[in-house]
């Protein structure tokens, strides 16, 4: 019998030029300014006077091929054969005349793709894999996001926030979803439960010991077999030992909680970039629609919407009003767990007489 031929991969990353809308290609590096004729539509003008309108719409990110094909039909029939995606899974469809914008918007909306996500709106949530596909998830990703965006769709379709709002969710403390104005992140509350029968066979023990940020893991012998033990007084329940050693199960039906962090900002505009900060925890991992989490997210957003000044991102707003008023306006309890005691954490204490009353 003939051996099947082994195909060698063609390695390399190809040029993106042939995928660019002709207006993007013709004015590459030569744009002058843009404005937004309505939420969800960007209008760019080049130095030569060329114009392009891009219509942005939300998607579910995890798409069946029918959805992708439906979007292709819309692009072919109402756009000009080209599209792109933003890092937050929104589709952008460019057209070269203003007259095509309204029919394209209508077609997207008629097919259930909300048009928006531009400027000072709440854009789609940057998210992760969750129960659908990760091997270590503490919760789902797409389901949390779906329930959250159902409640925020009007904020996606309108530009009524002080500045743009970028959200993320992460289904473990590794935080693949990333920094955000509001980030929803799993928080473990119990140390790992160790299955001592499996550790010796599955885990490289020195590697696992080295993974722990607080040196809480020690090699030990259980029932005559090499295993690992955790000093539960030291353990900060971060879950870092779990990926390299699955028998150290960190996930727990009741112990997995959800925390909310605010004021992360990646842009350099005005203030320097900042990481998000903890403002709520202990929320239940309440599948399938996580109402408690969504209620807190909404409360924070509405306080910001009401009180933020134009162009203030969440972080800028809190810088102005201060943390005491943030907790007052959102009604969230301030607890001792919000006082940073990690390495270098003293820089987060108020070493001044600047006190707000």
């Amino acid at each position: 019998m003939a051996q099947p031929q082994i195909r060698k991969p063609i390695e390399g990353f190809f040029d993106n030029k042939k995928f660019l809308h002709p207006k993007f290609a013709a004015n590459y590096g030569n744009w002058k300014y843009h404005d937004r004729p309505r939420p969800g539509v960007l209008h760019h003008v080049s130095n030569t006077g060329d114009e392009v309108w891009s219509v942005r719409a939300g998607t579910q990110r995890q798409m069946d091929h029918y959805t992708v094909r439906k979007l292709c039909d819309i692009v072919d029939n109402f756009g000009e054969g080209f599209c792109r995606f933003t890092i937050r899974s929104n589709i952008e469809i460019p057209v070269s005349s203003e007259a095509k914008v309204a029919p394209l918007v209508a077609e997207l909306e008629n097919n259930g793709f909300p048009v928006g996500g531009t400027g000072n709106s709440v854009s789609m949530v940057a998210h992760t894999q969750g129960w659908l596909h990760c091997d270590i998830p503490g919760t789902d990703a797409s389901g949390v996001v779906k329930s959250m965006m159902d409640g925020l769709i009007e904020e996606f379709k309108h530009e009524e926030m002080p500045n743009r709002v970028r959200l993320s969710t992460s289904c473990c403390e590794i935080n693949c979803g990333g920094q955000a104005d509001i980030a929803v992140v799993v928080q473990y509350t119990k140390p790992p439960k160790i299955n001592h029968d499996l550790v010796a066979a599955i885990c490289e023990r020195p590697t696992v010991v080295a993974r722990c940020p607080v040196a809480a893991i020690r090699p030990t012998i259980v029932n005559g077999r090499p295993s690992l033990e955790v000093d539960e007084k030291k353990c900060v329940c971060c879950g870092a030992c779990y990926p390299p050693c699955p028998p150290m199960q960190i996930n727990d039906r009741e112990g997995n909680k959800i925390a909310i962090w605010v004021g992360g900002k990646n842009s350099n505009a005005r203030s320097k970039p900042t990481f998000h900060k903890l403002v709520a925890a202990g929320l239940p991992n309440n599948a399938p629609r996580w109402p408690e989490v969504n209620a807190v997210v909404k409360k924070i957003l509405m306080a910001y919407k009401e009180d933020g000044r134009p162009w203030e991102r969440m972080a800028d707003w809190i810088d102005r009003i201060g943390w005491p008023r943030f907790f007052e306006k959102t009604g969230l309890p301030f607890t001792k767990y919000m006082i940073d005691d990690w390495r270098g954490g003293r820089v987060n204490l108020n070493a001044s007489a600047h006190v707000r009353f």
Binding site: K8, I10, F13, D15, N16, L20, H21, A25, G29, W31, K32, H34, H44, V52, T59, Q60, Q62, M63, D64, H65, Y66, T67, V68, R69, C72, G81, C83, R84, F85, I87, T128, W131, C134, D140, S142, K146, D150, I174, N175, C176, G177, T207, A210, C212, P213, C238, A240, P246, S267, N268, A269, R270, S271, P273, F275, A287, P288, R309, P310, W311
Partner: protein, 431 residues
Amino acid sequence: MAKPMHDTPNLDELEKGPWPSFVTGLKRLAKENDMAVDLLGQLEHSYQTRLGHWKGGTLGVVGYGGGVIPRFSEIKNPDGSYRFPDAGEFHTLRIMPPAGMHYDTGTLRQLCDVWQKHGSGLIALHGQSGDIMFQGASSENVQKAFDEFNEMGFDLGGAGPALRTSASCIGAARCEQSCYDEARTHHLVINKFLDELHRPALPYKFKFKFSGCPNDCMNSIQRSDFATIGTWRDNIRTDEALAKKWFAKHGMNELVNDVIGMCPTRAIQIKDAGAVAKDGHVSSVNVSDTQALEIDNKSCVRCMHCINVMTGALQVGKDKGVTILIGGKSVLKIGATMGSVIVPFMPLNTDEDYENYLDLAQRVMDFFAENALEHERTGEMIERIGLANFLEGIEVDIDPNMINRPRMNPYTNMVGWDEEVAKAEARKAAA
């Protein structure tokens, strides 16, 4: 026709509401595809138990050490067989999209065809690192799917202790703030380090990200080891017609409150038209017949705020290039760290500029490969060895733009002070 559906009372709840539903999409797939039927069964089981039920493994394509994420179901019957057999193997292929995630519909449809044939039909556009994630192939079909994607010109992304897939902003293709060719740089970097991408042999993951300006739409400072951010050295450009148009629409209150008052370094002032400073470092523009904006470009930190607010009226300069920051990463293990400035400015226009840039990237990659401990990111390595040692290792001179402020404690041995002063004088003379 596929096999009958499992009951999915929890997932059904996620078909309600106005946002597009991934569950509805999965159910569409389940009409033709048994894998999608069992995926729904497995996911519903997760919703009921509130636990994940996948485990990893090893699997790849011929010639590569990474890029496929293997997943095997852990939900078994008492006899050890899979409870959801058609989703028992449910692997993901990470495929690198065109830079900027641009597509033509022909290509998208062809990608759909391949994945309909060899996979579950479920596609994530896109993963947080920037890959197209084709989710759900059996072990047998991984190679077949990859071969077809690869024939189309697509290549696998990174996974494991390797160079990872990069991401670049839309930049030059449609954004007036773009200060360099993000896509070209992105291509050159990936193609230079294909070996590091496909054959994981680094101490840990390494990520590049490319943003065309300090708005940093790619979140490169917080999410990449090597952030390349466009910037400019000369003055902010102005356009009087657009400035007057902006002012006519927004008025003095917004100009003062939203533009001048929000500049982080107080570099902008309002002046009487005709009374602006005539200095080579000042940009000015009349917003009306009586008032003008004056920007002191020596104090401007290129934060982008005023340019964002008054797009077109204020524009990035002409002497463009990039700022490079190294060491960004997420929480494990020392806590999240941001990249910090390693190169305040580097032009990126000529072929020679690109060579210099790629040389630097190579030196950083080599230093990381040789000096990082296992499972240590660049940020952790720099924290362990100190920035000065890292700079020496990659042959980059120190610069006061690298710090927020000088040291605030005396705990170091300064016996080499005089030599360092001599070096500082030499740098000044060479500049």
